[in-house]
Amino acid sequence: MSISIEGITKHFGSFQALKDVSLDIPDGQLVGLLGPSGSGKTTLLRIIAGLETADGGRILFHGEDVTGLHVRERKVGFVFQHYALFRHMTVAQNVAFGLEVMPAKERPPAAEIRKRVDMLLEMVQLGQLADRFPAQLSGGQKQRIALARALSMKPQILLLDEPFGALDAKVRKDLRRWLRALHSEFHFTSVFVTHDQEEALELSDQVAVMSAGRIEQVDRPQQLYAEPSSQFVFDFLGHVNVFAGQQNGTLLNQDDAWVRLPVGAAERVGQTAQLYMRPHELTLQSAPAAHAHLPLCIESISLVGAEVRLELSARGWATAEHWEVGITHTQFNSWQPARGDHCFAVPRVAHVFQAEGQAPETIRWQSGELDDPAAMI
C-alpha cells in the first residue's frame, strides 16, 4: 500500500515541528526518515499513524485520503522506541491483544487466535517465551515481541519509531538484518525513523533526510552518500572535510592554502566558495601537488578498523573541524607517520558549494593533473 504525504504542517505551541512536508512512498518500499533530534521525523511518523493530528496537509494510503481517519481505523502496525509492551500481560497475551479487541462479529475464534499467536511467535523465534512477562525479557527480545504484536493484524503499512535505538550494537545489527528479511517476505510498506545514518543507509530502499521540520533530500542510499544535494546532508551523512576560500578564476585560496579547480569548473571572481571532500576522496602526500596546496598536521591516529584513520589539523589556514582521511594499513606501515608530522592533502574529487542552499558542483581532477608519483606516500 503506497503512502502519500502532502504538504503536512504541524505546530507545537509556537514551535513549528513540520513545515510543508511532502513525500511519496511507493508500495512495498522500506523508507528511512533520517535526521537529528528535533528535526520532526518522529512527529511525521506519528502523523502518518494518526497518533498526532497535522495542522494542515493530507495523508493518503493507496490514493485514499485518511487524514480524518482515527488511528484505530487506519490499521497500521506501529513499533515504539521503548517497545510499549503491555506490562501486565504475558508475551502471548501481548501478541493476541489486537485480535482479542476486535468486534465480536469479526473476531476469530479463540483456537484460531491461539494458532495465529503461536505462528507469530515462531516467526520472531521466541515461541518458548510465550508465558513470560515483558519485564523478564531482554531489550532485543522485547523489540521482537513488539514487532510480532504490530504484525498480528496483518497491516499493509508498518511504522517503526527508532526501533533499535535503545539496543546495543550487536543486537541492533541482528534485528536490522531480520527486519529486512521480514520486509521482503511479507511485502508491507514500511517507514522507520532513525538518527543513525548507518542504519538508514543499510536498511532503506530510500532515505528521506530531515532537518528542522523539512525534508532536505530523498534518494536511494548510494545516491545520497555520493551526491548529497545540500551542505546539511553532506555534514549529516558521514564525515566531510571542508575547505573554504576566496575564488579567483580557477584558484580557491585561504591564507597559506590554495586549490586550483580543474578545467571546465565554473569560474568566478572575488566570491567565497566551499569545497566539500569525503575522506576517501583525498590522498595524503609528503609534498604539495601541482593543483593543491593544503598543508596539514597529524593530530591523532586510529588504527582500529579496516583502514587507519588520521585526524588532521590545518597548518597556516583554518577549518571549523579537523579533517579526517583514511589510509590503508599497508600505506600506514610503509609511511610510519607519527603525531605532529606534517603532510599535504591532495583532492581527487570535490564538491563545490558557491552559495548557501545551492546544489553543489562535483569536480574531478584528471589523473594527468595529479602529482608526480615520487611524492606519493
Binding site: R72, F78, H88, G139
Partner: protein
C-alpha cells in the same frame, strides 16, 4: 567494598541499640498502649455489656449512617479520582498544573474550616442554601450534608495515588493499544486499569478509612441529632459526654477495628505494589 567498616558516630552499637529502644518505647506509649486501652475499656464491663452497648438503637443507627456515608463517598471519589488522574496525565491543556495543585486544597484546609464553608454556602442562610430551602431541599444538618463534606475531605486520596504512577507509566501502552484497534473502554479496562489497580485499591482504602473516621467537618454540618445525623465518630463523643465511658469505648473499638483492618489491607497492597515493581527495576534493557 564489603570489607570496609564505615566509622561514623551512629555505627557504635550502644547508639544503635538506644535509638531502637527509644523508637520502640515511643511507639508503645503513643500508639500501641492507647489502642489496647480502647479494647480494655470497651470490655471493662464484660462481653455481654459490650454487646448491649453496640446493639443500642442509637449506636446501631450511627453505625448504619457511617456505613452509608462511606458507601457513597468511596465510589464518588473513586470515579472522580480516576477521571481526574486520567485527565491530567493523558492530556495537555491550559490550566493543567493549576488543576493538579487545586486537588490538594482538602489536604491544606482544616476539616472544620471545610465544614464551616459548606455551612455558609449550603446552610439555610447561605447563598445556595436559601434557594435550596425555597425548593424544600435541606442539605445541612442531614445526611446529604455529611456525605458532601466527607467527599470534600477525602477527594484527593485516589487522585494523589494515581497521578504520579500514571505519569511514570506514560501514554505509550495506551497508544500501542489504540493502534491495534482497541476502543476507549477496552483501553481503560484492559490496559490502564490493570496497570493502576494496586494504587487504586490503596487510594480506596485510605479514602474509606478517612470517610469512616472523619470528625471535624462532619461535626460542623451534622448538628449531632441522635438517631438521625450522628455518625460513629460523633456518637463516641456524645456517649463520652454522657459519662457512658464503656459505651463510648465500645463504639470507639469499632473504629479502632476498622483502622486495624485498614493497616493490614494497606500493608498487603504495598507488598503487592513492591512485588509488581521489583522485576521492572532489575530488568536489563540493553542486552
Amino acid at each position: 567494598m564489603h570489607e570496609r567498616k564505615a566509622m561514623r558516630a551512629g555505627d557504635q552499637p550502644w547508639v544503635k541499640w538506644s535509638l531502637i529502644a527509644l523508637a520502640f518505647a515511643v511507639t508503645m506509649l503513643m500508639l500501641v498502649i492507647p489502642l489496647v486501652i480502647i479494647f480494655k475499656q470497651a470490655f471493662a464491663a464484660g462481653g455481654a455489656n459490650y454487646w448491649a452497648n453496640l446493639t443500642d438503637t442509637y449506636t446501631m443507627h450511627a453505625i448504619g449512617l457511617t456505613l452509608l456515608v462511606a458507601a457513597l463517598t468511596v465510589p464518588i471519589n473513586l470515579v472522580f479520582g480516576v477521571m481526574l488522574a486520567w485527565l491530567v496525565t493523558r492530556f495537555d491543556f491550559p490550566g493543567r498544573k493549576v488543576l493538579i495543585t487545586l486537588i490538594d486544597i482538602p489536604f491544606a484546609v482544616s476539616p472544620v474550616v471545610a465544614g464551616l464553608l459548606y455551612l455558609l454556602l449550603y446552610g439555610s442562610n447561605g447563598w445556595l442554601g436559601s434557594w435550596l430551602m425555597d425548593q424544600d431541599v435541606q442539605l445541612m444538618f442531614s445526611w446529604p450534608g455529611i456525605v458532601m463534606v466527607t467527599v470534600f475531605v477525602t477527594c484527593p486520596f485516589v487522585a494523589r495515588e494515581l497521578i504520579p504512577l500514571m505519569q511514570q507509566q506514560g501514554r505509550e501502552e495506551e497508544e500501542a493499544g489504540v493502534v491495534l484497534g482497541a476502543t476507549g473502554w477496552q483501553l481503560f479496562r484492559r490496559i490502564t486499569l490493570p496497570n493502576i489497580q494496586w494504587a487504586l485499591l490503596y487510594g480506596v482504602v485510605l479514602t474509606n478509612a478517612r470517610a469512616v473516621g472523619e470528625f471535624g467537618a462532619v461535626s460542623v454540618v451534622s448538628g449531632n441529632i441522635r438517631g438521625e445525623t450522628n455518625t460513629l465518630s460523633l456518637h463516641v463523643e456524645l456517649l463520652y459526654q454522657d459519662y457512658n465511658v464503656v459505651g463510648a469505648f465500645a463504639s470507639a473499638s469499632l473504629l479502632a477495628g476498622i483502622a486495624l483492618i485498614t493497616i493490614v489491607v494497606k500493608s498487603f497492597v504495598e507488598w503487592r505494589q513492591a512485588r509488581q515493581r521489583a522485576p521492572l527495576d532489575d530488568q536489563s534493557d540493553n542486552r
